[in-house]
């Protein structure tokens, strides 16, 4: 009796899994390509019929003609649109990077508080999370801008904190270092300090591995860098002079002014994102099995050491992927700055430049491309980090 192998029976083509598979894939590609072409065609026809000028990016070289309230690089109205775009981009960068750092720190603290056995502490964290997570970010930002920072005293009656730090509804003016001639030399000394610190840390680590007693590596690293920095400071004639803000005319002059819009945007983003990060941290910590904690206690580690050396490294594996999403969200959410008057990328490029030039397609292509690159860069860096801390299975 001859056995017929199952694969040798060929069903009719319309029920053949392979034929159907290929057919579906072809169909999907045809539909996607067709839709893409339709919209492209539509855009081109639209542009042609409405007598608009052909797509071109040459306007970026023209004089911008408008002023921007705050800028990290030198900018004035005689500079080009391209320069204005970069000013907006750097302002977005500034908010995103500071926001990510502070939101992470605050989020970790609140996430750990949430798990505290102390009733009061865990409830405070719970209320914080549930309150800020459930308010739309735009509402929160406008609240900070209009109901908190704008309600501070006017600049003439500014609150003066020791420093002096001026607190008014124009923003916060703080003393700031102004580089002098020896600043570049001092930067080299600082770099040397960092290298030396790293060398010390490496040496201590190797020694620790040999002897089995790990010294406080981070502490010694910081001490080395600080010592080199201090020596350099003493021997060089003042690499930085401290510029103190003074109230003069309409505004405070000198020092560094963190504008009301910047403060409102930054604090809104930090507080909002920290609530989400706290939940991610909590989930990460809780994902580490109870046995790990018990084992650590059995080995004689105190609670702080248990958290730092046993729980957290394992929790990180669970924390990093969703944390990446939060970082991306924070960066993208910073485009809400437009609502409170902070000149970020979207406010400068998507509003002012677009308005003046009338080039919607070009500007939005650039803006979307920029946010996309920022997000891809962030997630690339986070993925690299994620690979490093991943559990190495043997």
């Amino acid at each position: 009796m001859q056995e017929i192998h199952a694969s040798q029976i060929r069903p009719p083509f319309y029920r053949d899994e392979r034929v159907l598979g290929i057919f579906t894939q072809v169909l999907v590609v045809v539909v996607v390509v067709g839709l893409g072409l339709f919209f492209y065609n539509n855009m081109i026809t639209g542009l042609r019929e409405k007598h608009t000028v052909a797509i071109s990016f040459s306007f970026l070289g023209q004089v911008a003609g408008f002023d921007i309230g705050e800028s990290m690089i030198e900018y004035s109205r005689e500079r080009t649109y391209a320069r204005a775009f970069v000013v907006g981009l750097l302002n977005t960068f500034q908010v995103a990077i500071l926001g990510i750092i502070f939101a992470t720190a605050l989020g970790i603290v609140i996430g750990v508080m949430r798990l505290s056995t102390n009733f009061l502490i865990s409830r405070i964290a719970l209320i914080y999370i549930d309150f800020f997570r459930n308010i739309p970010l735009l509402v929160l930002l406008i609240f900070w801008a209009q109901a908190v920072f704008l309600k501070l005293p006017r600049v003439a009656e500014a609150i003066v904190l020791p420093g002096p730090i001026f607190l008014s509804n124009r923003g916060v003016a703080v003393p700031w270092g102004l580089p002098t001639e020896s600043w570049s030399t001092y930067q080299i000394i600082l770099a040397a300090g960092l290298v030396l610190g790293a060398a010390v840390a490496y040496f201590l680590r190797e020694q620790g591995k040999r002897t089995g007693r790990m010294p406080l590596i981070t502490l010694w690293f910081l001490v080395t860098v600080a010592a080199v920095g201090l020596i350099g400071w003493i021997f060089l004639p003042q690499p930085l002079t401290f510029d103190q803000p003074v109230l003069e005319g309409f505004n405070t002059q000198g020092g560094k002014i963190l504008s009301q819009q910047f403060m409102a945007l930054l604090s809104g983003l930090i507080i909002y994102t920290a609530a989400f990060i706290a939940e991610i941290v909590r989930a990460g910590i809780q994902s580490v099995s109870k046995g790990q904690r018990e084992a650590a206690t059995a080995l004689g580690l105190n609670p702080a050491q248990t958290l730092r050396l046993v729980i957290f490294p394992q929790a990180l594996r669970v924390i990093i992927p969703p944390l990446t999403s939060e970082y991306l969200n924070l960066t993208k959410n910073s485009s809400l700055a437009i609502a409170i008057g902070y000149p970020d990328l979207f406010a400068v490029a998507g509003n002012t430049i677009l308005n003046q030039t009338g080039r919607e397609i070009e500007m939005f292509t650039m803006i979307m491309g920029t946010y996309l690159s920022l997000s891809l860069l962030t997630s690339f860096l986070m993925n690299v980090y994620n690979r490093r801390i991943r559990l190495v299975e043997r």
């Binding site: 124009r170 003069e248 309409f250 009338g358």
Partner: protein
């Protein structure tokens, strides 16, 4: 199983190839040469329907206006639009249909108005729009006669003692983006050599709120809007509009490039209101002019010649309808901005040339 996967891969490659072939077949229509064919396409547009015929077919005019500026274009609590600009929308509707209410006002923000017009969603912009060269050329607009000569001004607190630009050295100035004001501010302060901080907001309400709270030392926009907005501040009497004009702001209607007949129609409706004021014809006394022997009045009111036909309208009394329904320039001005309103704006430049202003309409002949 393995061969299955291979087959799937083959399917994917096959479908990609087919996709590319389709793309290649379709793309000549949308190929790169299209980008350059702007000029070539323009004449084709002329053969299609004219704006006037589209409006007549639709049965009403779509006018792109403002809903937030009392006195010029404002949407009241009952859902009615009123204001100086809105009355000019009504005037155009009156000329075309003999009915000032054959009109839909399409409220638009400062930045979307030109896009809405060029995409054909509206027929004309009358929305305190400043006539500038780049809008006239780059954006493909044609600007009709200026209906209101405005100028950009600055409002400050009385207690600051500011009276000139130089007094504002180091000050913070609140400004709304999407308008010519942002550029004028930068230009004039640069010319005066005055350093300042621009605080840019996306909308009027926020800009004036920030100024009211003391975030800014000054707030800038067109003088007429400053007057209109001053009334909404917490203590209007504490503020003053300083005697500095940062720019010329000729405000008037704008239409798309490419339809000269429509452009002419809009122009002559506006001129007709000015000519009526010159001749002393108002909405109330117009009937007494209907047997006038003055040829100039006869041409304006459609008693002589076929001037309405020259802008494509069959109704010989098209301008007479405008005057009957809306009144002459002075009536429109006084109704919205004059002494009986909260604004009480002096006519100033917006007087007839015979009264020391610069309103000078060409003759109907």
């Amino acid at each position: 199983m393995k061969s299955m996967r291979k087959l799937n891969k083959a399917g994917m490659i096959l479908s990609m190839v087919i996709g590319m072939i389709i793309a290649a077949c379709m793309s000549p229509a949308a190929g790169p040469e299209v980008v350059e064919s702007d000029e070539a396409a323009a004449p084709a547009m002329q053969e299609t329907q004219t704006t006037l015929s589209i409006v007549q077919e639709r049965g009403h005019l779509v006018c792109i206006g403002n809903a937030q500026l009392p006195g010029f274009g404002f949407l009241d609590s009952e859902g009615n639009f009123s204001g100086f600009d809105v009355d000019y929308c009504r005037a155009i509707a009156a000329a075309i249909f003999g009915d000032a209410d054959a009109l839909e006002v399409r409220p638009a923000s400062a930045r979307e108005r030109f896009t809405i017009l060029s995409s054909g969603e509206g027929d004309v912009i009358i929305r305190n729009t400043t006539w500038t060269m780049s809008r006239d050329t780059d954006l493909g607009m044609n600007f009709g006669p200026t209906t209101f000569y405005d100028g950009q001004g600055l409002m400050v607190r009385k207690e600051s003692g500011v009276s000139t630009l130089q007094d504002l050295q180091g000050a913070s100035v609140c400004v709304v983006t999407g308008t010519t004001t942002e550029l004028n501010l930068a230009d004039q302060f640069a010319a005066a050599g005055v350093a300042y901080e621009a605080v840019v907001f996306e909308d009027f309400d926020q800009s004036f709120n920030a100024y009211d709270e003391g975030r800014c030392d000054a707030v800038t926009t067109d003088k007429s809007s400053l007057v209109s907005r001053q009334t909404t501040l917490t203590a209007p009497a504490d503020h003053v509009i300083i005697n500095v004009t940062l720019s010329k702001e000729p405000l008037g209607p704008a239409v798309r490039h490419g339809d000269d007949q429509w452009f002419d129609l809009v122009n002559w409706v506006v001129y007709a209101t000015m000519l009526a004021e010159e001749a002393g014809i108002t909405s109330e006394n117009i009937d007494s002019f209907m047997d006038s022997n003055d040829p100039n009045i006869g041409k304006l009111l459609g008693l002589e010649g076929d001037f309405c036909a020259k802008v494509g309208l069959e109704n010989a009394g098209c301008f007479a309808d405008v005057i009957r329904l809306l009144g002459n320039y002075a009536e429109i001005y006084d109704r919205n901005l004059g002494p009986d309103t909260v604004f009480d704006l002096p006519r100033g430049l917006n007087s007839l040339y015979t009264d020391g202003g610069i309103l000078y309409a060409p003759p109907i002949r």
